[in-house]
Amino acid sequence: MEQFVGQIMPYFTVAIFLGGVTWRIWRWMIPRIVHNITLSPFPGTWTAAVTWWVWQIAIFWNILKFDRALWIGAFPFHAALIAIIGGHLMGIYTLGLQFHMIAPLLVTADLSVWLSDLLGTTMGLVFLVALLYLLYRRFTVEKVRAISSTSDFLHLFLLLGIAGLGNYMRLAPDAHMTYLEARTFLTGLFTFNPVALPHNAFFMWHFLLVQCLMIIFPFSKLMHVFGFFWMRWMVNRPYKEWAPGMPGAKVQLSK
């Protein structure tokens, strides 16, 4: 089991994830944008359109404006999620020295590790709380439950499992993992020299569930990460207007 989860499965997981995402996007690219369905007010230029998309992502503007109660959960959830993904990449790769490497004069190596731990723990907890809130909302708010299917709940439970185990490893001394242990293991995978999973059942489950998430990803609504851009590309784009002024009329528009 451990050998499979730690040394064999990851290669399949990554193949399914990358292949699946590519396949899904391929399918979005086959049909055409048949008509101009941009939403108004129309952005004047492509720069304005893209700025609008970025604005939407940066603060979830529509959610903030039209559903405050969702924003309270969705925004911290996503912000923490991005921080956590970044933290996993940077923290593990640099062994917690990322801030020292970015600003060596300002941040000492020790401080960087301390910051990395602090941020990791905080974001992990924020993520967990936001997740619980979203789950609670899905169960209790009638309009949300009415449009949910079982998988919508299962995704959240899966994330809950991943986040719960992650936080437990951070907070419970007996389950703790060092950055170095994780890096050694992942280096093995990335260099195609897989080594054994660290001896930590919590880590194995954490790692297994993350792989489940990656396998599900291309076949679920998690594709909204990409879908956002594909939809905005259609509904927020510049439009060129015909100029006013009536040919042949006695009163002509003065310029």
Binding site: P31, D67, I147, S149, H224, W230, M234, G248, A249
Partner: protein
């Protein structure tokens, strides 16, 4: 074909098979309907990107629910935009995605059945294609696009409301929704010209039809000939004031486009084709559109991709509001706003503000021609639909009741302004708001916008 109303579902009265045949559609028998519908879904999936992206990216966050007036009015989960789209999405998942084929209901996938098709008929004709869901959704997912796909497939199966189907039939015959003939059009216009002469101290306004060598083709809503004559008069007075060489065409006396609302292929294209044929025939240099929301979208945003004629790239196309607002801004229209002095509010037609970039021009005009203008909240692109959008102006009892429910939000908005006059520059809005005002006992007068311009214009003779 089952013609009885399916149990417990709110459905408009259906068009009969004979009517569908006049539109080139042989109604599909019940036992073949599901298979045909799935085949059409497959076609759309390979043709229309908006359809696929909307089908595959909803996160079921529920944000759209309370941003749709139909859910606010009925609290029916199938009227949540995401719930409405799910009527198709469940089948889409079942037939076109691996997760749906493998896991079925666990991931929200479901076989398509005749009962579901009955639900399509019910809920795609409760959606007004107002796009408020798209405007508010974090991703911009547009349930109106799904409604359009649903209605189109139903049309091809031979399912559609009497109202829409008969109107579409009138288009093929006469080029307008009301079935007006050329003689009828000329008659009405002569009558309106006389009314103007009486009401405005002998003012003589020409309302020409099919006049050769015209520069401007004005395309009014055919409803203006019967329900909203002041809008027609206003436009005529405006053209008179600026001295335009203009005409109305009897082959396309229709700013609306019911094709766009149920058959976005054959019938929508018929209107577009007529439009540019008439331009060539009458020597038109510019098309100016009348007050109609969905029709303005169907034209402004769709002609480029629907017309087979080259005029679409060379003949400019604007709305009469664009023209009036531009002249007001350049200070060239002489107006007396005190003639429109009652407290007045503006209902933003959804298609103008969320699909046509048509918003500021209405305010420029409003401020210039009235003295007591109050905005309702929310307004502009955040505005709620009147409840009649996309022509769901049914008067069979169940649907009439629905229309009034769907206008709850609008009634509340209007009441809050304390206005005496409600300006709604769109034929469908007007047709919906007349009964709304009555049933919600609002006691306001419903008017168009160009009506007010006509009324405020100061003519040199005066």
């Amino acid at each position: 074909m089952s013609t009885e109303t399916a149990k417990g579902l709110r459905q408009p009265k259906r068009a009969n098979e004979a009517l569908f045949r006049t539109l080139g559609v042989e109604p599909v028998p019940d036992d073949k309907k599901v298979a045909e519908a799935v085949r059409h879904l497959d076609e759309f999936r390979q043709k229309l990107r908006s359809f696929v992206v909307i089908m595959e990216n909803c996160v079921k966050c529920g944000l759209c629910a309370e941003n749709c007036h139909t859910y606010l009015g009925t609290k029916d989960p199938n009227n949540i935009p995401a719930g409405r789209a799910d009527l198709i999405r469940k089948a889409y998942k079942r037939y076109f995605t691996p997760q749906g084929r493998l896991f079925g209901p666990l991931v929200g996938a479901e076989e398509l059945t005749l009962e579901t098709l009955e639900k399509w008929y019910s809920y795609f004709y409760q959606c007004s294609e107002c796009r408020r869901c798209s405007h508010t959704c974090p991703f911009g997912l547009d349930t109106a696009e799904i409604t359009m796909v649903g209605r189109q497939i139903l049309f091809w199966l031979g399912i559609g409301p009497q109202l829409h189907t008969a109107t579409a039939g009138a288009i093929l015959k006469t080029g307008n929704h009301m079935g007006l003939t050329k003689a009828g059009i000329i008659d009405t216009l002569e009558f309106l010209a006389e009314e103007i002469e009486e009401d405005y101290e002998g003012l003589k306004v020409d309302l020409p039809v099919d006049k050769p060598e015209s520069d401007i083709l004005y395309v009014p809503s055919s409803a203006d000939f019967m329900l909203n004559p002041n809008t027609l008069k206003g436009a005529g007075m405006f053209f008179k004031w600026v001295g335009a060489n203009w005409t109305i065409s009897s082959r396309i006396t229709e700013a609306g486009n019911f094709g766009y609302l149920m058959d976005q292929t054959r019938i929508q294209r018929e209107m577009v084709t007529r439009l540019y044929e008439e331009c060539t025939k009458l020597g038109i240099k510019k098309i100016v559109w009348g007050e109609c929301g969905h029709g303005w979208r169907a034209t402004k945003m769709y002609v480029r991709t629907y017309s087979d004629l080259p005029g679409v790239e060379t003949i400019p196309l604007t709305h009469i509001h664009d023209e009036a607002a531009a002249l007001i801004e350049s200070g060239q229209l002489k107006l007396d706003p005190t003639r429109n002095s009652k407290r007045i509010t503006l209902h933003d037609p959804c298609n103008y503000v969320r699909a046509c970039g048509h918003c500021d021009q209405m305010r420029v005009i409003m401020r210039a021609v009235t003295t007591n203008f109050v905005e309702m909240t929310p307004n502009r692109e955040r505005n709620f639909c009147c409840g009649g959008g996309s022509g769901i102006l049914f008067d069979d009892p169940a649907m009439y009741e629905y229309r009034i429910l769907a206008s709850n939000k609008k009634a509340e908005q209007v009441r809050e302004t304390g206005a005496e006059v409600l300006c709604a520059p769109c034929s469908i809005c007007k047709a919906q708001l007349y009964p709304m005002v009555k049933e919600h006992k609002l006691g306001v007068e419903v008017v168009g916008l160009i009506d007010l311009v006509g009324h405020a214009l100061v003519f040199p003779e005066e």
